[in-house]
């Protein structure tokens, strides 16, 4: 069978969603941000709510998310995306509101906004990309940098005696009564992408049913910041990040998942 016979509209299996614009993504080759953007846009397209969705872009690598997502977007001050989302959601309770934040935005400067929005139980969705580093500014140590991880400001690895402990913000917000669904996933291989997509679908469904706040952490690579090629960065992430940030559901239907 010739290639021209296969490549026809009726045989189409997968195509980039039209909710991603034609702009070339500004991310480094292999960065998980692009996959995460696409997952969120695919879920919005499948639900058919692109006209009623408002996204909040953070400060960080994904500050230009409004250039890539073909929906209404607001870009908030550093770390303040959950506060802006609260205002928008309370003004228009029928709109779908989500924030898309990195770890420097959500877990460092925006810790107060994150914790209070989660504790109030605002009916929004928070997508949190955790790569353990400040990627945009040159790979400095972030609150989520794991023990022993080398960054440009911890060149001998993170020393817990000197630099303190890494922050598991996802486990922290799961303890708050306001959160309804909390999960951690990744986008490093096809199976992980499918799981992440199901979690994002669930999160938007929860928002539709007005049950409470859904918080999804996506553990991602930062191959430029980690100084590794993309495929090796994904392997490093599985070997080193997953023991500290294990993927899976943390809180489902308002109840903490018991660890066995």
């Amino acid at each position: 069978m010739k290639l021209q016979e296969i490549i026809k509209e009726e045989n189409l299996v997968y195509k980039r969603t039209p909710l991603m614009t034609d702009n070339v993504l500004s991310y480094c080759p292999g960065c998980g941000h692009g996959t995460a953007h696409r997952i969120v846009m695919e879920v919005i397209e499948e639900m058919g709510v692109q006209d009623d969705t408002i996204g909040i872009a953070p400060v960080g690598c994904s500050v230009l998310a409004y250039d890539f997502m073909n929906i209404d977007m607001v870009q908030a001050a550093h770390g303040r995306a959950p506060a802006v989302a609260t205002g928008i959601k309370r003004t228009w309770p029928d709109k779908f509101v989500f924030t898309y934040q990195g770890d420097g935005d959500l877990a460092a400067i925006g810790t107060a906004e994150t914790i209070h929005a989660c504790n109030r139980g605002e009916n929004i969705t928070i997508i949190f990309i955790n790569n353990g580093i400040y990627g945009m500014t040159g790979g400095q140590m972030a609150p989520t940098t794991i023990e022993g991880m080398k960054t440009s400001t911890s060149p001998y690895g993170r020393d817990l005696q000197l630099m303190g402990n890494p922050l598991k913000i996802t486990e922290l917000v799961a303890q708050l009564p306001g959160t309804y669904f909390v999960a951690r996933h990744s986008v490093h291989n096809p199976a992980a992408v499918r799981k992440t997509k199901r979690a994002v679908q669930k999160a938007f469904q929860i928002q539709k049913e007005r049950k409470g706040l859904a918080f999804i952490e996506i553990v991602s690579n930062c191959n430029s910041g980690w100084k590794l090629p993309p495929v090796k960065a994904n392997q490093w992430m599985v070997e080193n990040m997953f023991p500290f940030f294990p993927p899976g559901d943390i809180k489902v239907d308002g109840e903490l998942v018991k660890k066995e």
Partner: protein, 76 residues
């Protein structure tokens, strides 16, 4: 037995040559080309077109969404 024949189309000018699709292909269909695109990246292409089963694994992990997948079920 029905045989599945797949094919991918890579938007070579948007491809950044990260190799994530190469690592996730179960049939080792994809490789990076020796040529480069306008930005100097070695783009992905189908090196073994006959082996493709149209599973779309490459397309769903592609960070830049440059891969389009087609599939035909052919009765032998």
């Amino acid at each position: 037995m029905a045989k599945v024949i797949g094919a991918i189309v890579v938007d070579t000018e948007r491809c950044k040559g990260c190799e994530v699709c190469v690592a996730s292909c179960p049939m080792q269909v994809i490789e990076l080309s020796k040529e480069v695109n306008g930005k100097g990246y070695h783009f992905a292409y189908m090196a073994q077109p006959d082996a493709c089963i149209g599973c779309a694994n490459c397309a769903i992990v592609c960070p830049d969404g440059v891969i389009t997948v087609y599939k035909v079920n052919k009765r032998a």
